[in-house]
Amino acid sequence: MNKDIKLNIIDRKGKTHIIQAPLDMNLNLMEVCKMNNIGVEGTCGGMAMCSSCQCYIISDHKLPDKNEDEIAMLSESFYVKKNSRLGCQLFITSELEGLEIKIAPN
């Protein structure tokens, strides 16, 4: 079984990164960005309390619904669009294969 999925991440400078993300490490999207030095701070460590990992979902993947914490944080964040999500609340699963995202300004 393939243990990696491919992600397409555009950083804040507009550079595209093709990333292999493992499925077996219980990672979230913020952590994958940090592991690959894509310039995501993840200030709060993944508690949905800082929005430094906000990203825009470009591809039309069906993603899990936002939880209360994510909705609350996005309601207080800036540069929020309809396709905004917090990377720290999106876990790396096989459903995310080929996901394309753009890191939001901070």
């Binding site: 508690m47 800082c50 609350a72 800036f78 540069y79």
Partner: protein, 350 residues
């Protein structure tokens, strides 16, 4: 001028624990933090969240960890400058530094320990045109002097605890108070949400949701804010607009101190004592970097411990030091307090 052995920049868990380890070596500490209370991220970002990886604490709330650390270091009489940011550091001799804050407070120390976490917390500013033109002229991002809002018209924006707490606090002081939030739900203590609801029901305050401030107007001083609610715009006259959208950490002036910086962190020598490229200046906790670095509170405690031993040697180059165990020697506070394990009693059984 404040004089101390170790100036600790940052009063988060690592900075606070440094006071304890320094105290065991009879070194005095002064702490500076940009936040108005000690605790750093634990107090500012997640006081009510549990931490599970503090040795011997299967589960502890971040706020409780800070309270316990404050209790642990109390015997060593740490002094604090809170709500001020360090700006400038002058090395006046091999073992003498003078550090100056943005408010002009000066601290003379033999050692500087930078335990600044992710940096200095600065308010997150909403994206409103010309907002910077009204900063200090009606726009406040942090409430420093609550009295100035007495009998004034105030608009607060935000949906977290600080927006709720200040709304409650200022509700009977301001002439009028309007709370604006982007959604109907507030993320704050349940009790605070209830209080705000009661104040709204009684007509003491106005709560406008889901809404946001679209623009601001004034001449030399703020005069009104334009509130957008579900596509409808409404002008509200106000003396003050207080956006409370949390804080974000910035490395700030530390980056101009000549320290070696890598990825927004200060490089240190981890094989020895977490000293930076400036002798006498150490960096411990989340703010430093070295091969294998882990940003964990428990690692910060370890770094603080080793750093204090090294600081002792710098301050007392001719004194020999041997590691003492607190179980054996107890804690001898600078305040005259004494804690020690009870002595064994010897009694014969007849």
């Amino acid at each position: 001028m404040i004089k101390t052995d170790i100036l600790i920049i940052g009063a988060g868990p690592t900075g606070l624990f440094t006071v304890f380890e320094a105290g065991l070596l009879k070194l005095k500490c002064h702490l500076i933090d940009s936040l108005p209370v000690p605790g750093g991220q634990c107090s500012e970002i997640y006081p009510k969240k549990p931490i599970y990886d503090i040795p011997s604490q299967p589960e502890i709330l971040a706020g409780d960890l800070v309270d316990k650390l404050l209790e642990q270091i109390r015997p060593f009489n740490p002094t604090y400058t809170l709500g001020e940011k360090v700006l400038k550091m002058d090395k006046i001799s091999e073992n003498q530094f003078i550090t100056t804050t943005n408010k002009g407070t000066k601290v003379k120390s033999s050692i500087i320990a930078i335990a600044g976490g992710l940096g200095c917390f600065e308010p997150r500013k909403p994206l409103i045109d010309n907002i910077e033109n009204y900063e200090g002229k009606g726009i406040d991002y942090i409430i420093k002097d609550p009295e100035k809002y007495n009998d004034k018209k105030v608009v607060i924006a935000g949906g977290g605890d600080s927006a709720l707490d200040w709304t409650i606090f200022l509700s009977d002081k301001a002439r009028s108070l309007t709370l604006v939030h982007r959604r109907n739900e507030f993320r704050g203590a349940f009790d605070s949400v209830e209080k705000v609801q009661t104040l709204k029901n009684k007509g003491v305050i106005d709560v406008i949701t889901p809404a946001e401030i679209n623009s601001i107007k004034g001449d030399n001083k703020l005069k009104e804010v334009l509130i957008q609610k579900e596509g409808v715009f409404k002008n509200v006259e106000t003396d003050y607009f207080i956006p409370l959208f949390g804080l974000t950490p910035k490395l700030g002036p530390l980056s101009d101190w000549g320290l070696e910086i890598e990825n927004n962190s200060i490089k240190v020598n981890n094989s020895l004592d977490y000293q930076t490229n400036i002798p006498g200046v150490y960096a411990i906790g989340d703010i430093n970097t070295y091969p294998g670095k882990l940003k964990l509170i428990l690692c910060g405690f370890h770094e603080a411990t080793l750093m204090c031993q090294s600081a002792f040697k710098r301050i007392h180059p001719n004194k020999k030091n041997v590691l003492k165990y607190t179980t054996v020697t107890g804690i001898h506070g600078f305040d005259g307090s004494k804690k020690e394990s009870p002595k064994s009693t010897i009694k014969a059984i007849k």
